[in-house]
């Protein structure tokens, strides 16, 4: 059963205020959200006795060791009880009842109370996934074991993902190949796309099926005009504006390039967020296809600076930090902030960089996949994935590796 496209909104009807599911969690339980943000399924495992446990604890529930690590574990299980919660104490769920939950006994050991996908019933085998709920907290969701076609249209799934189909998306910069590829992938996924183009009078490569609007992220007036024109009709913003130049500090000799990098990557992001953020946050529960996500396409060097791309790394580190703030500020609207971290692009500015390099089309596909799966972070391409793996292993060692000219 697929969700029909949204009908025209009654201009007289009150816009439903976004509510959030319960937020409070212990520090240990935040590990679920950390795993879910990358789309991983990880649980606490005892390093001493290998016991897999849930709910998260401060010590091992089997041997009382304090050596607990979050590790990817098999996610299969059996639903042994199910219910439809029809009366809920919480205002968010009260608007969404009946709400299905169930008890799943995992093959890995623990019994888990989980949200149930519409296609899962008591007695069924199920595949647990960790998803971020509207409050951005990691939660357990039981999906049919044999992933079905209509999986992403499930009620719980819709609340925890940002499927672009039948949603209106702004791609902030359609002048660069990444913006064009992202726009094409979103249109392919069923979205209605507006592409921002700075200086419309200059020639640009159009994207078939996308609307075009004058938008220059370095120009506050331009960004405000665009937001005033269509900001209230956008459900997803993808910021593809970027300024790619090699170089660090001494070789450049001045701050002109660095200023351009910050102007586009950092201030441009902030301008866009100031102009489009308020309407997104307000429309987080608006109709069947509410506003749902903000996506930044950022360099993985923002996570760990590459001296060869020092100026770019700094600008993207600034933008990554800003994304953290935007995530907190958009949370009241249930809007997900996604960072697509990309490695060196296969473009003219990376002419001398040896492969593997990431193709713009791969970034478009990754953005669509991230929205459908509801993750907050995705590493696109081999280099980005490699750096993220090293960063997760030890960010301080990675910083030293980057200095030795790695990447």
């Amino acid at each position: 059963m697929s969700i029909p496209p949204p009908t025209r909104k009654n201009p007289l009807a009150r816009t439903r205020q976004p509510l959030l599911p319960p937020v409070p969690r212990s520090r240990a339980a935040l590990g679920l959200g950390a795993a879910a943000s990358w789309g991983r399924f990880a649980l606490q495992v005892c390093a001493s006795c290998e016991h897999v446990q849930y709910p998260p604890r401060e010590v091992c529930g089997a041997c009382l060791s304090g050596a607990l690590v979050w590790r990817d574990v098999p996610s299969g299980g059996t639903v042994i009880a199910a219910t439809n919660v029809r009366i809920s104490a919480d205002p968010y769920f009260r608007e969404r009842t009946p709400w299905r939950i169930g008890t799943v006994t995992m093959d890995a050991g623990p019994a888990v109370i989980a949200h149930l996908h519409d296609g899962v019933a008591a007695g069924d085998r199920a595949r647990l996934v960790l998803r971020l709920d509207k409050a951005g907290q990691g939660v357990m969701l039981a999906l049919p074991e044999d992933g079905r076609g209509d999986e992403r249209d499930g009620k719980a799934m819709r609340e925890m993902t940002a499927d672009p189909r039948d949603r209106r998306v702004l791609v902030s910069d359609g002048r660069n190949p990444v913006g064009q590829a992202v726009a094409r992938a979103l249109i392919e996924a069923g979205a209605r796309v507006v592409v921002g183009i700075a200086d419309l009078w200059r020639p640009f490569t159009p994207v078939a099926g996308a609307e075009v609007f004058e938008l220059d992220v370095t120009d506050t007036d331009s960004v405000r005009r665009a937001a005033a024109e269509f900001g209230g009709r956008i459900e997803i913003v993808v910021n593809t504006a970027m300024h790619i130049r090699p170089g660090g500090i001494i070789g450049r000799g001045d701050v002109i390039t660095a200023r351009d990098e910050m102007e586009i990557t950092y201030f441009g992001f902030m301008r866009l967020a100031q102009a489009f953020g308020p309407a997104l946050r307000f429309r987080g529960a608006d109709g069947t296809h509410p506003a749902c996500a903000w996506v930044n396409v950022l360099s993985v060097f923002g996570l760990a600076g590459s001296p060869a791309w020092g100026g770019l790394s700094a600008a993207h580190a600034a933008a990554l930090s800003l994304a953290q703030t935007l995530r907190a500020e958009l949370r009241p609207g249930g809007i997900r902030v996604v960072n697509a971290l990309v490695g060196p692009l296969d473009d003219e500015w990376h002419q001398s960089v040896p492969p593997p390099k990431v193709a713009p089309a791969a970034i478009g596909a990754a953005v669509v996949r991230a929205l459908r799966e509801g993750v907050e972070q995705v590493a696109v391409g081999d280099v980005a994935q490699d750096i993220v793996a090293r960063w997760r292993d030890d960010p301080e060692v990675l910083a030293r590796e980057m200095m030795e000219g790695m990447a």
């Binding site: 009880a81 199910a82 919660v85 029809r86 109370i113 008591a122 709920d133």
Partner: protein
């Protein structure tokens, strides 16, 4: 090793402060009124008790400690039992041993809670760490959602039907009709039970208790103390207590009683057939059915047959929750863990407010509480005799 018997320990002065759906007052008032009422019934003044044990969910920052000053008592033995529906049994166990050892002579066991329009939700949001982390964010159905899962699993495993649970609720409602302070005073039919508003499938309205304000109290002392005060009293024969029983069970189909019931009967020197009435902890009927099984009145999974073949009313062949239980009287928070004990003392001392079980000599009271994550962790039971 055999447990030390409870020599000459008795329970007296069964006290109930009539329940109210909502109260503008704090829990301190309900607990204080219950303490005062039980002392008046015993002809005692506050300074005459030297032990005090309290259970409550709604005291805010206070525990039994703050209550001593609030109530003007100076006990030499003090306890606070945060175990919800098991708090009555646990309070009794601790008080009994204190009196037996001479650490106190008279212990007042009191439980009470207030109830404001939003207090139930507020309590749910911060009930336990596991609950906040791993239950409440899943539909926020509260105990209704948790017990719906247990009920669903029980029905699947033992082929119980909604009618089977209905029999328990309907019999308790019949018992409640004679209880003056019961909040539910209209007879309940099977048609009404089955047609009730669904709450969390398979649980419907009449499977749920109504949160309310109220308090229950009783006094624990030696039999000679009771005799000198001229107080009718029930004797304590045996008790059990267990926490986090059967952690390996994937879902709760049995409680801690299944671990300890043999000891309960051995210590009392009786068997289940000697029991004249049973006061179970009845936050949901599925838990009542588990207590029938786990306390040995029938085998595991035979609960549905048991309720089909027994009359659970006061005048029936298996009197159960003789005042109507929480399902019909109301659930005054932690006082729900004392309700059965207070009613059992009344039955055994001829002080019933409502229906009376003829010639009741021996009663079992059972407690159950604290859905920390997916199951109730605390269980206990006591055998009382006239």
């Amino acid at each position: 090793m055999r447990r030390h018997p409870y020599n000459r320990i008795v329970l007296a002065a069964p006290t109930t402060i009539p329940y109210e759906r909502y109260s503008i007052h704090g829990a301190h008032r309900w607990i204080g009124l219950a303490l005062g009422e039980s002392l008046r019934a015993a002809g005692l003044r506050p300074k005459d008790i030297d032990g005090f044990c309290c259970s409550s969910f709604s005291l805010g920052l206070d525990t039994s400690v703050g209550l001593t000053q609030h109530f003007g008592i100076s006990p030499r033995w003090l306890d606070h039992i945060p175990m919800g529906g098991a708090s009555g049994i646990v309070a009794l166990r601790r008080a009994a041993r204190a009196v037996q050892a001479g650490d106190a002579d008279i212990v007042a066991c009191v439980a009470g809670d207030t109830n404001h329009p939003d207090s139930f939700r507020q309590q749910l949001t911060a009930f336990s760490r596991f609950s906040a982390d791993a239950v409440y964010p899943y539909g926020a159905g509260g105990p209704n959602g948790s017990f719906a899962l247990l009920t669903d699993a029980y029905m699947r495993t033992y082929s119980a039907t909604r009618e089977d649970f209905g029999r328990i609720c309907i019999a308790q409602r019949a018992n409640a009709l004679a209880t003056p302070h019961a909040l539910m005073k209209r007879p309940l039919t099977m048609e009404q039970y089955l047609a009730a508003r669904p709450i969390a499938d398979p649980i419907a309205l009449f499977d749920c208790v109504m949160p309310c304000a109220g308090a229950e109290a009783f006094l624990v002392m030696r039999d000679d103390t009771a005799a000198s005060l001229g107080l009718p009293a029930a004797r304590l024969l045996s008790t059990i207590e267990r926490h986090n029983a059967f952690p390996e069970d994937p879902i709760q189909l049995r409680g801690g009683w299944a671990m300890d019931a043999p000891e309960l009967y051995a210590m009392a020197g009786i068997g289940p057939d000697a029991v004249d009435f049973l006061e179970t902890y009845d936050d949901y009927p599925v838990i009542v059915m588990m207590q029938f099984e786990d306390l040995g009145f029938c085998g595991k999974g035979e609960g549905p047959d048991f309720v089909r073949s027994h009359d659970l009313t006061v005048s029936g062949d298996f009197p159960q929750n003789t005042s109507g239980g929480q399902l019909s009287v109301g659930q005054a928070g932690a006082a729900g863990g004392h309700l059965g004990l207070v009613e059992a003392i009344r039955q055994l001392t001829g002080q019933t407010l409502g229906g009376r079980v003829p010639n009741a000599r021996i009663g079992i009271v059972s407690g159950f509480g604290m859905i920390n994550y997916d199951r109730g962790l605390c269980s206990g039971a006591a055998v009382l005799a006239a």
